[in-house]
């Protein structure tokens, strides 16, 4: 159990996830998605640095990192679909817990991008 109970924990999970996905898509031969993940990783790092608002930091409840485990060994088409779906679900579920508009928007957008919307 690794709770995603703070702004930093969620943003760090997003950074870690995109870093892993950049590597994963690279191995799967999808350089476009690998680049997109790397771009999102950098964006999430910037947001973790810039969008943290000390006076409105609030505890976040009900989210756990273990619920978003990715099978990064399976680079087949169906494996990629499962990975993208889990990533989209992660972003969709964590975004409402964030009370900083800029960060929440970025997470919602990442959900849409992973879902191919």
């Amino acid at each position: 159990m690794t709770p995603l109970n703070t702004f930093g924990a969620i943003m760090s999970k997003a950074i870690e996830l995109e870093s892993a996905l950049a590597d994963y898509y690279g191995r799967a031969g999808d350089s476009e998605r690998a680049r997109a993940s790397e771009k999102r990783r950098q964006k999430m790092m910037r947001i973790r640095r810039e969008a943290v608002l000390e006076i409105t930091l609030e505890a976040i409840v009900g989210l756990d990192s273990d619920d978003y485990a990715l099978d990064l060994d399976d680079t087949s088409e169906s494996g990629q679909a499962r990975v993208a779906s889990t990533a989209a679900r992660f972003y969709r579920e964590v975004a409402p817990g964030i009370n900083v508009r800029q960060a929440r928007s970025a997470l919602e957008r990442a959900a849409r991008e992973h879902a191919g919307e």
Binding site: R49, E50, L57
Partner: protein, 485 residues
């Protein structure tokens, strides 16, 4: 061998003549991070000499050029954002999110400093009398010093430094000896700026160096943030020595929760206000007043949410609350809780015996809620500066305002309500320098003055905002006439 800190004077890292060194431990792990010297009057004298020498050249440096240094400074701080945040966690004990938020707030003050050229502009009137023009000019004053506290070791010094020097003054910084490392790293970044030597100086130490700063005739003004008794001493000593002074003191911040408040959202925010930075901030919520029917639901929701808070090492991102700063702080807070219990308060949540696995010797105090607190109790009157929230009842909104205004402190007060009429009345009547409406931590951003009334502030001009431009400059009036041919 643990690092023994040096002062930064005249662009050089210099050893002090100190024989007294205080340990700087990580309050969670108890690892010794450094030793901080107790600089003496001689060290302060060297810093003043360097700052005075630098002043003449620095005030002649065009203000746009001075602001450029702030651009570069901001870039360096951004580059080292993560390192600075980690240092704040390690020396202070707060969580990484809180430290990042602190460094971000500091960067806001650098941004404000970058805007000094705009804010130093003059005003004037042509033909104030026949053929006579009258203008005002803002001029730098000289050497300023800041004596800053342990609770925001990066942010508070940076409230003052960028504005002071971009206005053309030179600066001496004396951070808290409990948390000197954030400013140590900051001055390493300042050293990379290649500012003229002596524009920024760092003097480590405690009471001895603070006393020397207050009494030195070469220092024009002092900014201070700390407890009220010390703020009062700083104010009195500095004014007696002919200095400008802004001395921000302690607080006992009240939050009034009305029955029409959105209870779940309000409590989430009250919780952040009371337990953020382990309650060690001058804007922390110390007393929550439940008005009428709100009391029971406020208490129930608070106990439910606070009990779920995860206390742990600040560098672990799943920690929602870190340590207090020291063993002495921990002991004082625990004693205050016990005193509250002795005076008749009920302890709904007791953080006195909290142990955090893996950090058994850490300076942890768990989130604590005291119920049935009455205005005469010590816990209602005195600043605890720890993760302790006292709950009080008020039968009416007016009674809540009366309770708040009875406090000797006036740093901040907040109201949680969905009533615009009550919110407006609260803003109007409550005697506190920073008012929050559905905001538990009423912290002004860098472009607004950091308010404070009663025993929470001693001085005239507050830190931050246009007040700081007034504090760090003198307005000279020029009346001129030119004879034609």
């Amino acid at each position: 061998m643990v690092e023994r800190l040096k002062n930064y004077i005249g662009g050089e890292w210099v050893e002090t003549g100190s024989r007294d060194w205080s340990p700087v431990p990580d309050p969670a792990t108890c690892e010794l991070l450094a030793e901080c010297p107790e600089s003496g009057a001689g060290d302060v004298e060297l810093a003043v000499q360097a700052a005075q020498t630098a002043f003449e050249e620095w005030r002649r440096t065009p203000v746009l050029e001075r602001a450029q240094f702030m651009h570069h400074f901001k870039n360096l701080v951004e580059d080292r954002f993560d390192d600075l945040s980690e240092v704040v966690v390690r020396e202070n004990g707060k969580t990484l999110d809180e430290a990042r938020g602190e460094v971000r707030r500091g960067i806001e003050s650098i941004d404000f400093g970058i805007g000094v050229p705009f804010m130093m502009r003059n005003d004037g009137v042509e033909d104030i009398s026949s053929g006579i023009d009258e203008t005002t000019v803002r001029q730098p004053v000289g050497v300023f010093a800041a004596i800053t506290p342990f609770n925001f070791p990066f942010m508070v010094p940076i409230w003052f430094l960028p504005t002071a020097i971009t206005c053309g003054n030179t600066f001496i910084l004396k951070p808290s000896p409990q948390t000197p490392l954030s400013m140590q790293l900051t001055c390493e970044l300042i050293d990379e700026l290649d500012l003229p030597e002596g524009v920024v100086n760092l003097v480590h130490g405690g009471v001895t160096s603070a006393q020397a700063i207050m009494e030195h005739p070469g220092i024009a003004g002092v900014s201070f943030v700390g407890s009220s008794p010390v703020a009062k001493i700083i104010y009195e000593t500095c004014t007696r020595n002919g200095k400008r002074v802004q001395a921000q003191g302690g607080a006992k911040n009240y939050i009034a929760v009305l029955p029409d408040a959105d209870m779940e959202s309000s409590v989430k925010n009250v919780l952040g206000a009371a337990y953020g930075c382990a309650g060690q901030r001058c804007l922390a919520a110390a007393v929550a007043v439940g008005v009428g029917d709100a009391y029971d639901s406020l208490r129930d929701e608070l106990v439910k949410q606070v009990a779920g808070l995860r206390v742990g090492y600040g560098l672990d991102e799943t920690s929602q609350m870190g340590t207090v700063v020291s063993a002495q702080a921990r002991e004082r807070i625990v004693d205050m809780i016990t005193e509250g219990e002795r005076e008749g308060a009920t302890i709904s949540l007791d953080g006195r015996d909290l142990q955090v696995e893996g950090y058994e010797d850490g300076m942890f105090v768990g989130p604590t809620i005291l119920e049935d607190v009455t205005p005469d109790m010590r816990v209602a009157r005195e600043e605890i500066f720890g993760p302790v929230l006292s709950l009080m009842r008020a039968d009416s909104y007016d009674e809540a305002v009366e309770l708040i205004n009875r406090s000797n402190y006036g740093n901040a007060a907040s109201i949680f309500t969905s009533s615009g009429a009550h919110a407006r009345d609260f803003k109007y009547r409550v005697n506190a320098g920073n008012i929050g409406v559905n905001i538990g931590v009423a912290a002004p951003s860098a472009s607004f003055p950091f308010g404070g009334q009663k025993d929470s502030f001693f001085g005239d001009l507050h830190g931050q905002g246009m007040d700081s431009i007034d504090f760090f400059t003198d307005r000279k009036v020029v009346i001129e006439r030119w004879f034609a041919g």
